[in-house]
């Protein structure tokens, strides 16, 4: 698959997803880029904005096997990863795979489960494998976790551990739609659209696991110049030195910038990465990797504000200005 085909395929995914998810083009693009970059995505937004619908639609469009876990406070790690169960007839323990054994895992309201259960996802997300009773079992390829969480409601929630946050390649904010988009939404529902039935929106699979693998191979050919590597490291380094930041982005964040940037370049049919790729993706890649000082948070400073300041203070390579 060449890069023009990648671009065409990506555009068709965007269009197909937009049939069911209206007015969230930026979020859809960020999620798809993260998926192509072999990363996991955390979608954050208040209830009712279509986070789950987005994940379900993507799984349909990508033609992947998908499973969904509704995270609750009593969810156990074995409910996620699976476990050994005694089989009476065979007189032995057999492994019953959990929902984690799928191509696309939708972890709905991930911060509702206790840390122990959340941590069960750690190995799966990072190593693409699950170890139970000393036996390591690989997960299908591709393996993608799309998690959602609600930023407002904090009672009875378990904040995601920093280590687990770092394992998400991107954190995407889903915002309220504009009145125009909301009108379109209502018209769609008035004419029979049902969010639980994607067939009613005419969403059909456009890819499969093999397609994604081929696209990833094509993305791997995208060139990255030394100047861009310098640009990315400069941005990440500044995130560690910013006055409002307690803990900056890790090298994993720098790598995420690189992989996501290459994916973005490929989706635009480019065989090379440009500064715009880095700048466009930096907020989604870095916002969940920054821990701010309490006084900065009290002053209303957010990670997005810090990233904006960092980007505005970092010189773009080969600029004419």
């Amino acid at each position: 698959m060449n890069l023009d085909e990648v671009r065409a395929q990506f555009a068709s995914w965007m269009a197909e997803t937009a049939k069911a998810v209206l007015g969230q083009e930026e979020a859809i693009e960020a999620v798809l880029i993260a998926l192509l970059a072999d990363g996991h995505v955390l979608i954050e937004g208040v209830p009712g904005l279509g986070k789950t619908l987005l994940a379900r639609t993507l799984s349909r469009v990508l033609g992947l096997e998908h499973k969904r876990i509704q995270f609750t406070p009593d969810l156990m790690p074995s409910d996620v990863s699976g476990g050994n169960v005694y089989h009476q007839r065979e007189d032995r323990f057999v492994f019953i795979p959990g929902p984690v054994f799928t191509n696309l895992l939708l972890a709905d309201e991930i911060n509702r489960a206790p840390a122990k259960t959340q941590s069960a996802l750690l190995e799966a997300m990072q190593d693409r494998s699950v170890t139970t009773d000393g036996v390591t079992r690989p997960l299908p390829d591709p393996y993608i976790v799309i998690a959602t969480q609600n930023p407002v409601e904090s009672q009875g929630t378990y904040p995601l551990p920093e280590a687990q946050l770092d394992r998400f390649l991107a954190k995407v904010h889903v915002g309220h739609p504009t009145p125009h988009v909301e009108q379109q939404l209502l018209r769609g529902y008035a004419s029979g659209f049902n969010a639980s039935d994607l067939d009613s929106a005419g969403v059909s699979p456009l890819a499969n696991a093999e397609t994604i693998q081929r696209m990833r191979h094509a993305i791997a050919t995208v060139q990255v110049g030394d100047e861009l590597i310098g640009y990315m490291t400069q941005i990440v380094a500044q995130s560690r030195n910013h006055r409002a930041v307690y803990l900056g982005a890790s090298p994993r964040g720098t790598i995420a910038l690189l992989t996501a940037g290459r994916a973005r370049a490929a989706t635009q049919g480019r065989a090379f990465m440009i500064p715009d790729d880095v700048k466009a993706l930096a907020p989604a890649i870095l916002r969940h990797r920054l821990i701010l000082h309490p006084d900065a948070e009290i002053e209303g400073v957010t990670a997005d504000v810090v990233i904006g300041e960092i980007l505005a203070a970092t010189q773009v390579p080969r600029t004419a200005a």
């Binding site: 406070p73 206790p114 840390a115 122990k116 959340q118 904090s154 009672q155 009875g156 929630t157 378990y158 904040p159 995601l160 551990p161 920093e162 687990q164 060139q223 110049g225 100047e227 861009l228 480019r270 065989a271 090379f272 990465m273 440009i274 500064p275 715009d276 700048k279 466009a280 309490p294 948070e297 009290i298 002053e299 209303g300 980007l311 505005a312 203070a313 970092t314 010189q315 773009v316 080969r318 600029t319 004419a320 200005a321």
Partner: protein, 683 residues
């Protein structure tokens, strides 16, 4: 002489109806309108009642106003002196009057003030030159140090490649110089540098036009997105150019001559469009500065109808001519040349060529033009006419004397008695058939010749003894208006008619520079230019664009408190307090009831119940919660459990404090707390 003068004596019938009240002809509609003495000469020819000028007879019958009689401007100053010497106005009264008005309206700078202005101008120029010299000297003497610094920096750093040098030169803000540099680099075979310079030129042009704002942190994508909002038509062009440039800068695309040419075409397309806008702006300025006198063909020009509506004005003349469908306008250009689009030129007194050169106009007449000299005394051998010294009481027209003016036959055309004209050549030298009418007129004792005509080449020249027939009040008499329209009508009826007046002709401008000169604005413009040059020298070229400083919003105190509360809630501050207090409380219970907790919570609860008389069923849950909280005290946020509600934690804390009080312990530990909050949990 290439033709012959023909005598014309006018006689008319009929009355025009063009002097309506809406046109501003007050003399027709105000019975007390003050007429000058010279204007009163027409009163004998005015019918009473007058249908188209109803109040003019009353104005004629009114007594002469001393305020306007014989003084000021207009006809009163000359022309009606009645000295009985033939032509009563040696210099045309109308022209003099208007000249006087023009002179009076002209703003003159007091002599003293003008001297001061000159001194100020010289001082500014001298100061500017001084600053320029100082600036140059400073650069001359500062440069070596700068060069040393630069060289030392260069030595310390790695040798800069050509592309880096090009990027440094791309800081140049002048678009033309950037493009020239790009071409130079391309000619030298350094295409990568050339591409960067050309692209920089495009960005600088857009920045200069205010469409984007260059900043080192902005990417090409930022600029394209910005253009989508401000200049949607330019955004695709910039995007295409940026793609090609980025392919060379960040991809493996080789910088070749063809790629440079392609990029340069795109860049020129961008800079050209902004140049087109600038050209349009300049064009509009040109039109603003010069009026519409020379813009486009005559039919496209707006007719100038701002003529004087007084009895001695000419607005009605213009309207009478225009009513026949002929394009007519006052001429504001000088009479140095006459365009081919002009069919008839009516020259009023003192409106001839400023340089007195009638040759180009005579050439135009020979090419088929009709020149009407209405009282204008042309100083040219072929045009000079003698004044008829005979006194005359009336002026008449012998019908049908003009070739092409057969329509005038039977019309009544009248003007007040005045001096006449004599052709320069003798009658005996001319063709008898052509001078028949003149001879008839000349033979009459009480009739003078009012107008003569001269055929010249394909055109003709008609000279009138004065401009009386070409005034507003003349249009009220008999068939004068129709006659004027017929006489002024061009041969083919398609060319335009221009009326030359002393107060308007030559006052227009054919170029911005001429407009500035005519308006006496040259010193002001020069001073402004000097001021701008000085400002540029002082502040540089970037002084022009002002930006609002970013505003800083201050939060109210309550907002800080709310934010602090939110942070405490997010950080589970009440849970933290409960866990810390529970840890301390259990330590206190251990000290009070040694060994009980080792026996279990049930035994501890029993011991506490025995001492406090609290129900054991109340004590056990409290101890279980406290024990659980103490176990998780100090754990990282992600493993210390769900965030509970603040009221629950505080309620537990208060009940524990009450139980400690009942147990005889102090519920408020002072310095006995054994644990300290970590920085992370302290939020």
């Amino acid at each position: 002489m290439s033709g012959w003068w023909l005598p014309l004596v006018l006689l008319g019938v009929g009355t025009p109806g063009v002097l309506d009240e809406a046109g501003g002809y007050r003399f027709c509609h105000e019975p007390q309108y003050p007429l000058y003495r010279d204007e009163r000469r027409w009163c004998d020819l005015i019918d009473d009642p007058h249908p188209s000028c109803p109040d003019l007879p009353a104005a004629c019958a009114a007594e002469i106003d001393p305020a306007v009689d014989g003084g000021g401007f207009g006809y009163g100053s000359s022309g009606a002196d009645g000295d009985g010497k033939g032509r009563k106005r040696a210099a045309p009264a109308t022209g003099d009057g208007r000249k006087a008005r023009r002179e009076r309206m002209k703003f003159e700078i007091p002599r003293g003030l003008s001297t001061v202005a000159q001194v100020v101008l010289i001082a500014i120029v001298v100061a500017g030159l001084g600053l320029l010299v100082r600036h140059l000297l400073r650069r001359r003497f500062d440069d070596p140090a700068d060069e040393e610094d630069a060289s030392s920096t260069t030595e310390a750093a790695a040798p800069a490649p050509a592309a880096e040098a090009a990027r440094q030169r791309a800081k140049e803000t002048d678009v033309t110089r950037l493009l020239a540099l790009a071409r130079q680099e391309a000619a030298a075979g350094r295409f990568e540098s050339a591409v960067e310079l050309a692209y920089a030129a495009a960005l600088r042009r857009l920045d200069g036009d205010g469409l984007i704002e260059l900043h080192p942190s902005r990417t090409n994508g930022d600029y394209v997105r910005r253009l989508r909002g401000h200049a949607p038509t330019l955004a695709p062009a910039l995007r295409d150019v940026a793609r090609e440039v980025e392919g060379i800068q960040f991809g493996a695309h080789a910088a070749t001559s063809s790629r440079f040419e392609s990029i340069l075409r795109g860049v020129l397309g961008i800079t050209g469009r902004t140049a087109t806008v600038a050209l349009l702006l300049l064009s509009s300025l040109h039109l603003t500065g010069c009026g519409s006198s020379s813009a486009g063909p005559p039919e496209a020009r707006p007719m100038l109808t701002g003529g004087d509506t007084s009895p001695s004005g000419t607005k009605a003349v213009l309207e009478a001519i225009a009513s026949t469908g002929v394009s007519v306008a006052y001429r504001i250009e000088t009479l140095t040349t006459v365009g081919e689009d002009v069919g008839t030129l009516i020259v009023l007194p003192d409106a001839g060529p400023e340089d007195g050169d009638w040759a180009p106009i005579l050439e135009w007449v020979e090419a088929g033009g009709r020149l009407i000299l209405a009282g204008e005394r042309a100083r040219h051998p072929d045009l000079e006419l003698y004044e008829d010294p005979r006194e005359a009481t009336t002026t008449q027209l012998f019908n049908g004397m003009f070739l092409g003016f057969e329509d005038l036959e039977g019309w009544s055309i009248e003007v007040p008695p005045s001096g006449g004209l004599l052709p320069q050549i003798g009658i005996e030298d001319a063709e008898p058939s052509l001078y028949r009418y003149y001879r008839d007129a000349a033979d009459s004792e009480d009739v003078s010749v009012y107008a003569v005509a001269l055929y010249r080449g394909g055109g003709e020249i008609i000279a009138f003894a004065n401009e009386d027939l070409f005034t507003n009040i003349a249009m009220t008499v008999d068939d004068n208006a129709r006659a004027v329209a017929a006489i002024a009508r061009p041969f083919d009826g398609e060319h335009s008619v221009q009326i030359c007046t002393a107060w308007m002709t030559g006052r227009g401008s054919s170029s911005p520079l001429e407009a500035i000169r005519n308006a006496d604005l040259t010193p002001l413009i020069v001073q402004l230019l000097v001021f701008v040059v000085l400002l540029v020298l002082y502040r540089g070229i970037a002084f022009g664009r002002l930006r609002e400083p970013p505003g800083r919003s201050r939060r109210a105190f309550v907002d800080h408190i709310r934010a602090l509360g939110t942070q405490y809630a997010r950080a589970d501050a009440s849970g933290h307090a409960w866990r810390a207090y529970a840890t301390w409380a259990l330590e206190q219970i251990d000290a009070r009831l040694p060994g009980e907790r080792r026996r279990g919570l049930q035994a501890t609860a029993a011991a506490i119940a025995a001492r406090t008389h609290w129900p054991e069923s109340d004590i056990i849950p409290l101890l279980v919660d406290a024990n659980d909280a103490a176990e998780r005290y100090g754990a990282p946020p992600s493993v210390r459990g769900p965030v509970g509600s603040a009221p629950t934690a505080l309620e537990k804390l208060q009940r524990m404090a009450a139980m400690l009080e009942a147990l005889g312990l102090s519920s408020r530990g002072a310095s006995t707390t054994t644990t300290r909050a970590t920085p992370r949990s302290g939020k």
